[in-house]
Each structure stands twice: as C-alpha cells, then as structure tokens.
Amino acid sequence: MQGTPTYPDSVGRFGPFGGRYVPETLMSALHQLENDYERLSHDTAFQEELKYYLQNYSGRPTPLYFAEQFSKELGGPKIYLKREDLNHTGAHKINNAIGQALLAVHTGKRRVIAETGAGQHGVATATVAARFGLACTVFMGEEDMRRQALNVFRMRMLGADVVSATTGSRTLKDATNEAIRHWVEHVEDTYYIIGSVVGPHPYPRMVRDFQRVIGDETKTQILAVEGRLPDKILACVGGGSNAMGIFYPFIPNKEVALVGVEAAGEGIDTPHHAASINRGRPGVLHGALTYLLQDEFGQVQPAHSISAGLDYPGVGPEHAWLHQTGRARYVPISDEEALSAFYLLSKSEGIIPALESAHALAQAVKEAQAMNREDILVICLSGRGDKDVEEIARQSRGAGHESH
C-alpha cells in the first residue's frame, strides 16, 4: 500500500467530502465496522483468504487486453481494455462483494443485505451469499427491476430475496434508501454490503480498497507489456467504484491522466441526466457529503441514464475530492453516445460491453483523435453487456433503430 495517499482521514473525510450523516441507530455499527475492517486489513490470514477467492472463485487477475481493432477504428492511441467483464458474475462488483462477505463471515454476521442498480452488485452479493451460506436480501428499484429483469431472475436463482423499492424515481437512489432503512431496523444481526464507493465512512474507503485490485493489476500488466505507465485511464462513474478501483493506485503517478465519465443521459443541459459532478453541488446523500443533483432547497433531483448502474444523483466522496483537487477530470457522455460505442466495441472486438462501461468507451471515441499513435489509453471495461441486450433490443424496436 506504499505510495498512495492516506485519505480518508480518521473521521472519514476526503478533504471536505465524506463523513457519516446517518441516524444515530447506525453509528455504533459503523464504528464497529471501522474497527473490524482496520484489524482485518492488517490480518495476513484474512488477506490470503481474500486473495484465494479473488483468484480461484472470481478468476483474477483479469486480462489487460490490447483492443487492436477498436484502436484501429478510432485511429488514435493504443487502447487497452481492463477486462473486469471476465470476472465471475460478469463485472467488477464481485471484487468488493467477496471482500465484504468475508468481513461479514469474520465478524459473525449470518445475514447480508445490498442495494443494486443494474443488478450487477445484487448478483455479486447473492453469489457470495450463496457461497458463504449467508441469508441475502437485495433492494432494487422497481424501474430497474423492469430494465434489468435478467439480473432479478439470476438473484432469485441464487437464493436471494429481491425487494422492490417503489418510492421516488424507483431506481438506485431509492433502493439505497430502502436498504439503509432496513439496516437501521436489523443492524444487530445484519451486514450491509454497499456496492459502490458511497455511503457513510468507512464504506467509501473499504469499497475502494477492495476494488483497487483493478488498478494494481493494471499497473503491473501495462508495465510488463509496454514498459511504461499509460497516458490516460478512462472509467465510467455512477457511484464510482470501478473508477476508484482503477484510479487509486495511479493517483501518485501525476503523468497518468485520470478521466471519470458521468452519464449525461439526454444531455447535461436537459433535466434528464446523472452528471452529479458536472451539474450538481455539494450536499448530503446516503450518509456522505458529496456532489449531488438537487434543487435550490436541497431536495434531491431524480437522475436519468440509459444505464441503470449510472442512474444515481450522487457520486462517491473521493471522486468529489479528486475533482476538487483537479487530480481527475470528470466528463459527460450521453445515452446516445454510449449506445453507439456499445455497438462499436461489439462489432470491432466481439466484446459486448455493459452500457455503464460503454460510457467510458464513448469518451475514448471523443478523445482518440487528439491523441498520438504511440499514446497508451486504458479503459476499464467494468462489466459485460448480456444484461442490457434485452432492453436495447426493446428500445431499438421502439425507436425503429437500425442495428447500425
């Protein structure tokens, strides 16, 4: 862990961001979790066990794949894809789910809950719950259950209860509200596996630590094949766990540009987007101070994105901090741009990306022209797109969309 910054501070702050804005009922559990995590993060046996499951259960390390055809299509830099889509369950979410499930097991909890947007974190949690014999309840917005019906089916097959969140925009924000409310009631016997670098301290730090394996591997792999670090790394940002995971080990390497891609939905100048950093201002959501889409008086505004995993009005507090310090840049990509990149990667490389990851790919399309052939660009391909195929087919039919 050398050479990386020591954020958050002891009260869970990344600069002004983060903290613990939750009901009193949860505070003792959060302190306990912080202590347990601190102890286990220095426990060799725990770390070995984590490594074992990441390798043998999830299939790590994931490849860093040179996307030659996609690079040619874009006509710019050499593009490498960090293949988190090749993890067990099809996305980076399993890295964190394994870590937190082991935490639950080591702290004697027999029951876990989770929130999910696209369903990838829900599936990952249901998966590890099955493996470690934990009872599992997943909260999911009603709208997302419709958009990601396949993942709902998968979670139920794995033995999890899926509970629909029917308030507000009926998406990830509301599923998280329900999960927190449920946790307040069952805090004494239930472990809450938060799926992104959001929520009250110590979650943003813990989830980042469990996801940094993406960046650590990328660093080793790119040095092995290219003998140098990449010029730029792109990753999509909803809550921002895949981005935080791949960015984190590179933060001290100032020569590597870090770019987070937010969902611009129908455009950041319309009311229908999820660009919290580009269009929000600091506020409190789900226990942390961070950039938030809200009205003048602090009512949270509904987010919109074609991708359920990015459809969130907040963002992890460490991203807010990286934005404020200027270490990372955050840019918007629209539904349409993401969809077009979704087809481009599918057809050029035979890799169907998740719609979330397609936002990062779309940013590569924009930036490639301005980069040189010798430049190296790494994109975090955070998940595979099987879950999105049905919804895209439905939308294409509705819009008379050619398969372009």
């Binding site: 804005y21 009193e24 009922t25 307040v184 008086f297």
Partner: protein, 268 residues
C-alpha cells in the same frame, strides 16, 4: 428557562405530549390549521416536519406525507412562515425536524437566523450524529436555538455520555430499532435507555418512534418526560384524505384534535 424546558416543567401532572406533523401536508394552509388544532387540544410542544425527498429515518407513513407535501408545492422557507404564524398565537414549544441536506443548502447561518426570527425553539436533525454536529451546534447556540440530539438503543453508554454532554432542549430517545412508524409493541429496552440518559443529563427526556396508541403513550409517560407521536397522527390525516372530501380541512382538524385528546387522557 426557554420555552422547551418551560413546556416540560409546566406539566407536573403528566408527561409532555409532542405531536409531529409535516409542513405542507396536504397543503401549507391546511397544515397550519392542523398544528393549531393539536396545540389547542393540549399538545405541549410540536415537531414541525420539513418534508424531504429522501427521508432516510422515516417509515412509509411519514414518507408518503412528505411526498404529498412536496407535490403540493412545499418550499423550504414555508417552514418559517408556518412557525411564525403559530408563534403569534402560542408560547408553547416549536421544534423543527429537518434532514441535514436542506439545512446545509439553506446554510446553517441563515437557517438558525430565520428560525430565531420565526420563533422556533429547537431543531432535530435525524441524520446529524454527534460526530458531525459540532459546526451546526455552534451556530445553533449562537442563535439561542436548541439542537436536540437523538439517542438510540444501540448507542451504548459512552455515546450516550458524549451526546448528553452537548445536548440542548431535551434528549430524544429512539424507542426501538428502525425507522419512524407505528409498532404494536414497545421495546423493553427503551426504559433502560431513558434511565441511562437520565444519569448523564438533567434535561428532559422524551421518547419517540413507534408510538401508535394511547396505551403506549401512557406506558411511556410513566418513565419519560415527553412522548413524541408522528406516524399515528399522519395515518389519521391519510385516512381523511382517502375519503376524497371536497373540504377536508374541518374533518382533518377534528381527527387530529380527537386523537390529541385521547392521547392526553391516557397520559394523565
């Protein structure tokens, strides 16, 4: 002695009754009438709820109430309007209940200044735990407004000690684990919690979350200085609204007045 402490002290016969209602549910004018009704019927302090889009500490009844209020066009500064109207008529305790985000967006300085002008005596922020409260507490103190803290059955003695150390107005004991909403049974742990709090503060101790019947209020009144009732009031409002009356305000007034009286009968 401030108005909150006075409201507790005035009642030597019984515990103080503290109803919670949301501003703007079903409309700003109607909610003002409802606050008036509970105060006229004998409530000692009212909790003036500030509707919020994401009320994490609230169960379905108060969530739905907040949603109705927001849909009816509620805007944050209306809380001060409502408080000011009540203050012109009563010297009972007025306590605002708001989540932290609207307070931060309004800015704490402006919030407590406007609250003071409106005659608000105290503020409860359910998602502002002790660890995060210091900057807000300083500003509240400067304006002479009590930042009323919550303690929960999971708090543990050390946290109770710390929380009581900076408590103002009264201490709000959360009766059971979970969000607001009516419960069939009251946890036995709440009495223990009230005793622990008493050993660390001389401020009044009130109990809330889950109080749904006059019998429960009566039980809590035996060992607490105040009883907070929210969802049970709002469910009565909901019941009237579901009847789709042309002019529901009079029926709403009667409903909350009758329930206030019933609760008070149980508590004496």
């Amino acid at each position: 002695m401030n108005r909150i402490e006075a409201a507790f002290h005035k009642q030597t016969q019984r515990a103080a009754l503290i109803p919670f209602l949301n501003t703007g549910d079903p409309s700003l004018d109607a909610s003002l009438e409802l606050f008036r009704s509970v105060l006229q019927a004998g409530a000692d302090i009212v909790e003036i709820g500030v509707p919020y889009s994401d009320p994490l500490a609230d169960g379905p009844v108060i969530q739905a109430s907040a949603a109705r209020s927001l849909k009816s066009g509620f805007q944050f500064p209306q809380v001060f309007e409502l408080a000011q109207a009540l203050r012109a008529e009563t010297d009972k305790g007025l306590v605002a209940f708001t989540y932290i985000n609207p307070l931060l967006q309004y800015t704490p300085e402006r919030f407590f200044s406007d609250a003071k002008t409106a005659g608000i005596d105290g503020v409860i922020v359910p998602d502002l735990p002790y660890e995060e409260s210091e900057p807000v507490l300083q500003i509240a103190d400067r304006h002479g407004i009590s930042l009323i803290p919550l303690v929960a059955p999971t708090s543990g003695e050390q946290r109770v000690t710390d929380i009581c150390g900076s408590a103002r107005g009264f201490v709000y004991c959360v009766s059971s684990l979970g969000v607001t909403g009516e419960r069939v049974r009251m946890s036995e742990r709440v009495q223990e919690l009230v005793q622990t709090v008493r050993s660390h503060t001389s401020l009044p101790v009130a109990v809330g979350f889950g109080v749904s019947t006059p019998e429960q209020a009566q039980h809590l009144a035996e060992f607490a200085d105040g009883v907070i009732v929210g969802s049970a009031f709002i469910r009565r409002i909901e019941g009237v609204l579901q009847q789709n009356l042309d002019f529901p305000v009079q029926t709403l007034r009667t409903a909350v007045r009758d329930f206030t009286e019933k609760l008070l009968q149980g508590m004496t």
